[in-house]
Symmetry: D4
Subunit: 172 residues, 8 copies
């Protein structure tokens, strides 16, 4: 396992954020912004399971070698990207079901979550890319004190923001 | 295009029937039995999108070269097989959503049918493997007089079987 | 089977695009535009299963004689058109579930895809008329070198358009 | 309009019960048994929208001429029979969604009930063939004193059977 | 049974259109407009199953005595109005599921259509009030030559309007 | 408000358990058994919204006068009973959606829970009649020390039964 | 049990309205406005099951001691707040499923209503916060004459408002 | 971070498997069996969010201190356990939706996966406890060579088992 120091020095991406189409970018950017704020190095790419299957294969096969530790994959409709990536690497893959136009993401959700025995995908809520980023951090935090600190701080801030809203409400 | 004669002589498979797991065999056998009855050469294999992704890639890439003309792919749950095969070949791919234990195949259906623009899958009913075989024959019939004849005969028999049931009912 | 030459000379329609109502035109036009771009001759008509059933019968019965090889039928709600056409011809019928106002097309999808054994419809995604056109081309490509070439080129372009978006994204 | 007397003398069927397959017979027999008990003449036939479309056309076109007044049509899955009959006659058509194996009849229900403007089908509950028969009687009762009497009596018996169960329960 | 003449002279309402709330008026007005155009006398009222249950009881009990022959009841959400009216009269009751804000009318549809054995409601499509009016006319047409003529003419016009749209499309 | 003493002396029912059909008895008996165990007086009756609407009216109108304080109403399919009772009394009404054969109670649930503004029903889980009884006790506990004691004890036992299962598991 | 007088003098809150997020405020304010109009003292707070679990614990544990008698909890998506509060107090808890962006509240509804045996939540319609307030009043009315009077008056006004709309409609 | 050696010596549990009820044991045992086979130390306990909320709080709060690194939580219906644990610890929490009797686990799935921003749960398929265990191992493998080796071996075996089934099929 890489030491904490090495991670900070090299600043090599630890999280790979991928999506099947640039129409998913609006949702997936929320994940990259979260990682930016918490100083977690990542890469973000368009990789389509259906339109660039060979590229997806290469990408998935390269992830571990290149030092990535968690993959976040967003996809909508027949959302095959997270599951296919998961079948091609043993890194943890977090799937983000993107809201689809007609079925509002219930198709994306079922395509991502109902994986067969042997190849898990960690599915989060429809359009839940921020939670995907948090989950990635929680996983990375198991072997990084820095990220662990960020995760704990984020949780505290979450708590405080509710407390503040609460107080503001009580004053009215 | 291969001539009718050549097809009959070589008896090379025209239809590739694949499925992700041997638990799908009971349903998919109905497709192979239909093709057997109608003298359409086919091959049948287990190819798992998730458990053997490389094999799936090779299989899909080989289909056209080996003379296959239509692929029938059955899959359940996060049913990625038909869509992934469709992304790796330009042959028509017919998807058969296999009934899943909990969600009764609505997950399989949505995973297969809701494909993104560019990569179509021809989806049939849940467990509709016989219809997948018939559809394959209807496609092959466009360039084979023999298969065209089988298709027309099947349709007539279908009509007659209803007429007979009808008569039997009226006699009661 | 008609030869390639004959197809090009006569320019007779090979694909019949039909829909139940002119409100479906916006979606179905995407299919005709695709065929136009790829030089595949087609015809486009309004044929309502419910409002003009006799016309639908005549239309379906005439398709094969007039040289059509694939039918694309779009319909919404109680979407009976694709299934009824499929029951009246042995040509491959591709069904396009049109998004319905209240149920967003899940009714159209189930009406089209859940066909009984004997009469298949090749169902694509809700509002998936472009994919219906691509699938029609993939079927025609089995017996036409020209169309086969178009299909392969389209697939390559699809691949390249993702690669370009990918590069643009990486530059940012 | 035929007089009450004429109806009783000739005993010509007033209700046409049809279904797409003999597998629907178990459910649809409950409709015929209800009509038998209430002395309403009917005919019962297998007419498949998909497997015998021409026959369905002839049947639908003949209904009015032969003196039928209400049609009860049962169908499952892509349940096109009630809607297609309704498109071919102006008699009231009652649709019975038959429970389907995988989707438990929600597909049948949506296929039958979501008819487009202009061609109504009177849809009853999934497997609700008895209610279809009662509804047919309620419609016929508008122009037949006998049937009106049966309908009122049935309603009273329904009331009494609940009262009896109620009393039996209270005694315990 | 009242003679045709009597109906025309008195102009007493034959159809009762009711709804639970004035928010349903926009949808239900389409039913009354259809009846207006086809010279079928009707009455239209707000009767809420939940907010005015006694009134609903009185209304339902009075329908038959006052000469009504068909009831059209629109309701949304926990749509109890059609079923409760049906339980209080033996006239045919047509239920119109009104689109609900959150569940888009699937709740209204299931509440109306899934009636228990003994008390049928003739359910039409979500927001299908025009079809409810047509169905009412088809029922009334069984005992009224005038209404029968209107029904046949409407059907012809429906056919012609599709033919015209078809021709306009072909000219382009 | 009646004093605790009076309640115990008279033993007049405080909870009315009703259901539309004796087929609901198996589920609803679990509610009465819970009340029996906790010494809460109740009555249990069959009252059908659809088959005995007048009786339902009388029943609902009598509830308050006869000293009932909470109504538990179980119903399946087009489950109108809880909502109609709620429209006829201002006592709190708890609705129990009974599992239906085809749609597994999702129809019952939506029919009961989606009540319009003004007439609430307190809906519990599908077949959740025990929880309906507990909820009734929690409501009664607000004005009865005895019932309050039972409610607290039940909660403690619930806690202990989990602790015991936990310990048994740990021993293995 | 506190006497009526005491309640009025102290004006201590009887109802606790809580919600997981200030985005739920728009819906939940309708509950507080109803209680305001009917002079029922309440408190309203933000308490998040997920973001402030300890606070939620404290809140739930304090409810009974502080004299609250009914809790109204609104929550959307994975709506755990009502169920968790119900697990931590024996006061009746009314759950309000808040409409979620993608799944329109069907997720909120199922999360709230499908509680396990032992811990009931009284679920109302999606966004049904007014009904939650009315239900709270109906429960409080069992031990408060004032609130009982308000409840009866509200019901009468509800009835009258429908009658007025009815009359206005008839005049047109 | 603990070194590999330390983990092996102490054999302290790294994974906490919890479930709300012993009825979930049949499904959750599949997770513990997987961890047993792969020599990953774990603990398994019954912790009910609803029936033992305080215990759940204590459990969740203790997880990190006691050296657990991943939590697997199975729950059905209103499945609050995974989300509540996730709100009380920053360890990664994997949720397993347990099949529910009526709604077949779609309620469990939505309750678990649709978590609000800030508190992610990694959801797997309905009854997907084996995949939960594999995902836990994939997460642990990021900081344990042993577990990483097991994960890679499992994946290879998965691949080989499909290849063997494939060969067996081809021999027939």
């Amino acid at each position: 396992m890489e030491s904490e120091v090495e991670i900070n020095k090299k600043n090599k991406p630890l999280v790979g954020i991928i999506m099947g189409s640039d129409s998913d970018l609006k949702v997936m950017n929320q994940a990259s912004e979260f990682l930016d704020k918490n100083h977690v190095p990542y890469e973000m790419q368009i990789v389509s399971a259906h339109r660039t299957p060979e590229l997806m294969f290469e990408y998935a096969k390269s992830t571990k070698k290149r030092g990535l530790r968690v993959i976040i994959a967003g996809a909508g409709g027949s959302a095959h990207l997270p599951g296919m990536i998961a079948s091609l690497t043993t890194l943890p893959v977090i799937g983000v079901p993107i809201e689809s136009h007609n079925l509002k993401g219930i198709d994306s959700l079922l395509s991502i979550v109902q994986m067969p025995t042997g190849i898990p995908v960690a599915c989060v809520a429809i359009n839940g890319s921020i939670n995907a980023a948090i989950l990635a951090c929680q996983i990375l935090a198991l072997s990084s004190k820095n990220i662990s600190t960020y995760v704990e701080e984020y949780r505290k801030n979450l708590h405080h923001s509710v407390i503040k809203k609460r107080e503001r409400m009580n004053k009215k």
